[in-house]
Symmetry: C2
Subunit: 454 residues, 2 copies
Amino acid sequence: MSETIEVISNTQERLNSIAYYLNAGAFVRVRKMLLDLPASDVALLLESSPAKTRQELWQLLDADFHGDVLEELSEDVRNGIISKMVPSSVVDALEDMDTDDLAETLSTLPEDVLQSVLASMDAQDRMRAEKALSYGEDTAGFIMNTDTITVRSDVSIDVVLRYLRLKTELPENTDTLYVVNRRDVLLGTVSLSRLLTAHPDVNVDEIMDDESEAINVDTPESDVAQMFERYNWLSAPVVDNDYNLVGRITIDDVVDIIREDAEHSMMSMAGLDDEEDTFAPVGQSTKRRSVWLGVNLITALLAAAVSDLFETTLSQLAVLAILNTIVPSMGGVAGNQTLTLVIRGMALGHVSPSNSLWLVRKELAIGFFNGLIWSVLIASVIAIWKQDYALGGVIAFAMMMNMIAAGLSGATLPIIMKKLKIDPALAGSVILTTITDVVGIFAFLGTATIFLID
Amino acid sequence: MSETIEVISNTQERLNSIAYYLNAGAFVRVRKMLLDLPASDVALLLESSPAKTRQELWQLLDADFHGDVLEELSEDVRNGIISKMVPSSVVDALEDMDTDDLAETLSTLPEDVLQSVLASMDAQDRMRAEKALSYGEDTAGFIMNTDTITVRSDVSIDVVLRYLRLKTELPENTDTLYVVNRRDVLLGTVSLSRLLTAHPDVNVDEIMDDESEAINVDTPESDVAQMFERYNWLSAPVVDNDYNLVGRITIDDVVDIIREDAEHSMMSMAGLDDEEDTFAPVGQSTKRRSVWLGVNLITALLAAAVSDLFETTLSQLAVLAILNTIVPSMGGVAGNQTLTLVIRGMALGHVSPSNSLWLVRKELAIGFFNGLIWSVLIASVIAIWKQDYALGGVIAFAMMMNMIAAGLSGATLPIIMKKLKIDPALAGSVILTTITDVVGIFAFLGTATIFLID
């Protein structure tokens, strides 16, 4: 057995040398090297390559290998590749995919491609595909596998063991057998380890666990992920509304969802699409990011419009123009800290109606203390730098106001947005920054106009 | 079996009603309700409660239950609770913890608490604890469990099966047996499902997998997580440098690491500690967040100092003061989009020396096109709003410069910082914003001074 320390570094090295030989045009060699890589590493290689290189690599890749690699690829990259394949070879690639991967792959295809792919499938595969697609996207039914092993409750362990020996191998990641009655209703589960420690003569119903939970086929995948994470499941049975066993979900499928859920907030807060492909063509990326920049331009103009109200003040005291950015910037950072924390708290299921009021009060208090600390500091800095105590007082007051506004809006915005079914991660930070900008400028230039202009 | 749909909503409801009865002071009732909750839900309840409520709940919780709940709690919350417990009861709570949870719990304790806890342990437990702590934090040895089941290669499956039946149950999440020689050197693995499908008469060495990889005990936990994610492992053996089997890592321990790794960037980019507890006391939170605000104040003052260089210009043209924030703000957003994407690409292992140059070029191109789009737009807006074409031209030029600077620094900063072994997520966005602020102000006020002031 090889040590993974090597394995890891090897992977990086191998990928680099493949990239090297590809540039050198040593295609035969690259083809050979690709054969030695596990599908997941080939996927990593493709995801780490620009579109052009991806196509070359894909051509060099053994076709029998296409399916396994497609399973591992992220949505964007996969679509980019499939869109350039002929339907028939897409079908070949999808042939022996697990149901869950099949569903996911097909669902992300552009409608026209999907249709032509379905069209060129044979009847049985098409039925399987359409069944898989019939479950709502991002539901348990969508990410489940259908290859469950079921047993009856009234047979002996010995019978079960002999039954299993008839199979050459069990489905991938099988850790549990499912006990069902004649109508396929789920009665309980028997873990393989329980099976191995049980006496051969006892019956299944004596050792089966009828307490464990089943996931309804319509449960949203993020709820599924939360349950796996919270209860440390390795796998779970999936049932329909009549409690018939329809499949099983294994943790390896859930891990990706857990990562995506966790990454979602970061990506959205930066105005990026979760699936955004780091190596997408320039045009595509520019287009995707422009929405956010557009929104930001509007808010920036809004802030400018606020300053515009104080044009006369600004023209009389240029120093105000110089310091005008400090208070909004501090408010923005403080507000985003609160916002991020609350959004994460929601994602982890920590923030609920029963404690949100407490949370808002807490962040308001933090805002107040932040205000105290930073207004004293900024006031002293300005007093020293500009030798102007009145100016120091004005900016200190503005800082105080804005820090309180930041804490309050940072805590309330996500709670309100969630009530309105808007994703806080997506629009939260823009709205927040707009608030802190406007309040900051108003407070600073407003008080300045009152106290410093005569 | 109960459906998890109910389960989920039930959990939320239960937690809310517990909170309600706690406020109502119905302690007996709360104590009863707590008994019906799984440890993970109690942990969720504690993490969702302010410090004061946490203590009350902890008091009401059955002591036999303390250990299971501590395992599930996040670092900050756990320390908060343990710090208020007497060492002896901490020891009782840690008594029957798995090695990995024990190590994690102890390692996060303040030194003095740790010592008194170790002191009040009996010899055997102390040895176990010190052994667990001997592995570097955040390494494979630290997160592994030691309860492996090992078999010899020359025995028959039938013997193995009878051996397993002697045990009342296998260790939690056992899905693989490990084949070792007399000196405990790992020779291979046998999955339970393979064991069940094999013929009783064949020997272990005929069905064992000697290809699969072992994790070295010193491998960083984030590498371990990446491997589990990339290769869809459910468990993996852990070996020391002599290739002796020392333990096993199961995916349920890795899932938490995967989430933390994924969350790390978002939290750091907002200047928050990964472990920051949403319901920590005001003082603690204020202190933790002030570092970041302090750094930001310095950069904000730096930006102000740049504007200060153009005081005369600003005093002559107040409109410049009004528009001064637009270009920096746009640059900041564009730069942070690039930064976030590159940081995520690094976390996923997509960004490597072989492709970083390509990536920088791409982001530079995007910066250029962003520049074109938004400079044209802002120029037209200003031309219409302020009826001043020269001013429009000046701001357009500044926008162009800053968008290019944003793309360039957004892509290069994380790559450089990684080379310097600085966490890009932590300091990246501050440095970036400073750059886009300074460049933006310089370009805008500089060109304005040249072309608009006579």
